[in-house]
């Protein structure tokens, strides 16, 4: 154990890793603080850069950028009432109300402090939960893997804010996209329409960049620009945070626990963690009437929660290759690319790399405090950048970054196509995150499904015979049928009420 830890230290104490981590932190802070650019988009745009880095430096950039972006989304939320990332949307109103009361420093300080605490709690959960789960996962066969992957996909649809049927449809579209190419059980071209570029299939990364970045630029074309930030000088950012920690220690702990649990659930990410924690904070508060008037309690709980979910979202990703959220989905792509294939054996064969990931998370969260304070101080200048200068650069990065993935122009065409698909889906209430999960997990789901069918000689029964498989199957089928059952129940209810009143 000690030797592994020393090896891990050696892995991360190279100049390449240190510079990569610092640069990615600054990048994450800037992108996260710009309204409309999410943490997922920040991470997606970073992937082409990771091609040129060593495996540990590549993971370091993802870890640092995603952690920082989730925090810095709070900055425009507090100052402008425009959340930088969806994860900050839950408490943007509250933070803005505090700014109006002259407590901007307290609101932003709580953002940076409790985010760092939440982030470290998330890493601890990753360190404690992952190894025993890996032991259990080693006994899983393809049947369990199939149901687990399906459950992961279903979780993503259950937590979507839109109609669950539309979320399931989005997931199916993603799975259909993953069918394209020759990587299938027969090794024959499937849905390629004779286009050679499609033989290799659709890479998840250009698809991600398309739906998250290009679609955002498309939306910016039609929406008015948010108002500029009024200039102001900040006092001490960290003053009063220790007092808040002592006063709201239980809220902070609850936020951490909820964030960890939501992070571990496949498909539910930082946004969901923040919404649930904020609602919970209000529900169990002794002074719920203060919520919405500039009360820091909800900020403490939700701020801790969304950052805790970032690290714990890596648990299913590292163990099963099932992403905890969209950021983890991108991280899985990078892990595969760098030869750190996710799976339970990662913990035995590449233990030092695992420890290096833990250490990087801890460092990123400690680094968040000084860098976050600096960012809050320069935020007034960065937020002055008009959208008409930021969006064109993002477009250019999309074009060059997607070209860099395979050094061919097909990547750019894919980005453009998925930009349109993402835009149309979002506009019509189809969650794009469900589609992205479908694309990322499609090959794995098909492999587990077909291998299981071959093993069972085409019979469906063995899918339910092993006890763990049966439990997972019941959960996945329950999640699949849940919207239909609720719909039937709602249809029946007015009928019953009508019969009762007619009597």
């Amino acid at each position: 154990m000690l030797k592994t830890l020393i090896d891990a230290f050696a892995l991360i104490s190279t100049w390449e890793v240190i510079i990569a981590m610092f640069a990615a932190s600054v990048y994450g802070l800037v992108i996260g603080s710009l309204p409309g650019l999410s943490a997922t988009m920040a991470t997606a745009l970073l992937v082409p850069v990771t091609f040129y880095l060593s495996p540990i430096a590549a993971i370091a950039t993802i870890v640092a950028a995603s952690s920082m972006a989730i925090f810095s989304g709070d900055i425009p939320g507090a100052l402008l009432r425009i959340p930088g990332t969806p994860a900050s949307a839950a408490y943007a109103d509250e933070a803005y109300a505090m700014t109006r009361k002259g407590q901007a420093e307290l609101a932003l300080g709580a953002g940076v402090w409790f985010s760092a605490v939440g982030g470290i709690a998330g890493v601890l959960s990753l360190m404690i939960l992952a190894p025993p789960l890996a032991e259990i996962a080693l006994s899983f066969s393809t049947f369990e893997y199939f149901w687990l992957a399906l459950l992961g996909l279903m979780c993503a649809t259950l937590v979507a804010r839109s109609s669950p049927v539309k979320a399931i449809a989005g997931m199916f579209i993603g799975l259909l996209v993953s069918c394209i190419g020759i990587e299938n059980p027969g090794g024959i071209p499937r849905f390629t329409f004779g286009i050679t570029d499609l033989f290799g299939g659709i890479e998840p990364i250009p698809a991600l960049v398309g739906v998250f970045a290009v679609a955002q630029v498309m939306r910016a074309m039609l929406t008015p620009e948010p108002p500029p930030l009024p200039r102001r000088k900040f006092g001490s950012i960290m003053a009063g945070q220790w007092k808040l920690t002592k006063l709201y220690h239980w809220q902070m702990t609850r936020g951490n626990i909820v964030g960890i649990i939501i992070g571990v659930l496949p498909g539910a990410g930082a946004d969901m963690a923040a919404w649930v924690s904020y609602a919970m904070s209000k529900r169990f508060s002794k002074e719920p009437e203060k919520f919405g008037t500039g009360h820091v309690e909800g900020l403490v709980e939700a701020g801790a929660s969304n950052n805790a979910s970032i690290a714990s979202g890596w648990v299913p990703s590292l163990l099963f290759g099932i992403p905890g959220d969209t950021i983890a989905a991108i991280a899985i792509g990078v892990l595969y690319m760098k030869g750190l294939n996710p799976g339970p054996t990662l913990f035995t064969e590449k233990a030092s790399s695992m420890y290096a990931i833990y250490l990087m998370f801890i460092i990123a969260n400690i680094l968040m405090i000084p860098l976050g304070i600096a960012m809050i101080r320069v935020a007034a200048y960065i937020l002055l950048a008009p959208r008409s200068t930021v969006m064109p650069i993002i477009m250019l990065c999309c074009a060059v970054g997607s070209f860099a993935i395979g050094n061919n122009m097909f990547g750019v065409v894919t980005v453009a196509a998925f930009g349109v698909i993402g835009y149309v889906m979002e506009a019509n209430g189809y969650p794009v995150a469900a589609m992205v999960l479908g694309i990322v997990m499609g090959t794995m789901v098909e492999q587990a499904f077909v291998t299981s069918l071959i093993k069972s000689d085409g019979s469906i029964l063995p899918f339910f015979e092993r006890p763990v498989a049966a439990i997972l199957a019941a959960m996945a089928i329950g999640a699949l049928l849940w919207p239909v059952m609720v719909w039937i129940w709602r249809k029946m209810k007015p009928l019953q009420t009508a019969t009762a009143t007619s009597r």
Binding site: F51, D93, S163, A169, F191, R387, P392, A399, G419, L453
Partner: protein, 163 residues
Amino acid sequence: MRLPDSVTGSFLVALGAAAAYGGWILPPVPGQPVGPNVFPLVIGTGLALCGLAIVFGIGHSFEEEEELIPFEDGQAATPPPQGKLYGLRALLPPALLLFYVFAADRLGFIITAAIMVYVTSAALGAKWKLALPLAALSPFAIHLIFGKLLRVPLPAGLLPTPW
């Protein structure tokens, strides 16, 4: 771009049916009960069923309308002019990406990128005093990062970079 659920649902039914048919006609693997045809068949059927559910409004009651936070103190951004072709502006970014695909090899990275940046910036409301310097400088900065530091082979075309 908001379409009625009946339209998007019907499209999904058609897409699902096409996917299932596409899977159906794929050749099986000799001596193996399941092959590359099973998965598209399952997905296509699932997609078509979802499409039907959407057409009939199942699950619609779960949808939450996105809340628009109003700005205060009269900061409210002016609503965009709603001409007939206004919605087509959204297609500009993907169109520019396709322009990049066709023009980058002939014109070179710098010129193509400058055109893309200028058009996007102008479309987002930037005055030429801002858009022009941005279009002139940002391609060089991006080329320096991707082309020089990360060694992405960016086409030189008509205007090679000085490095």
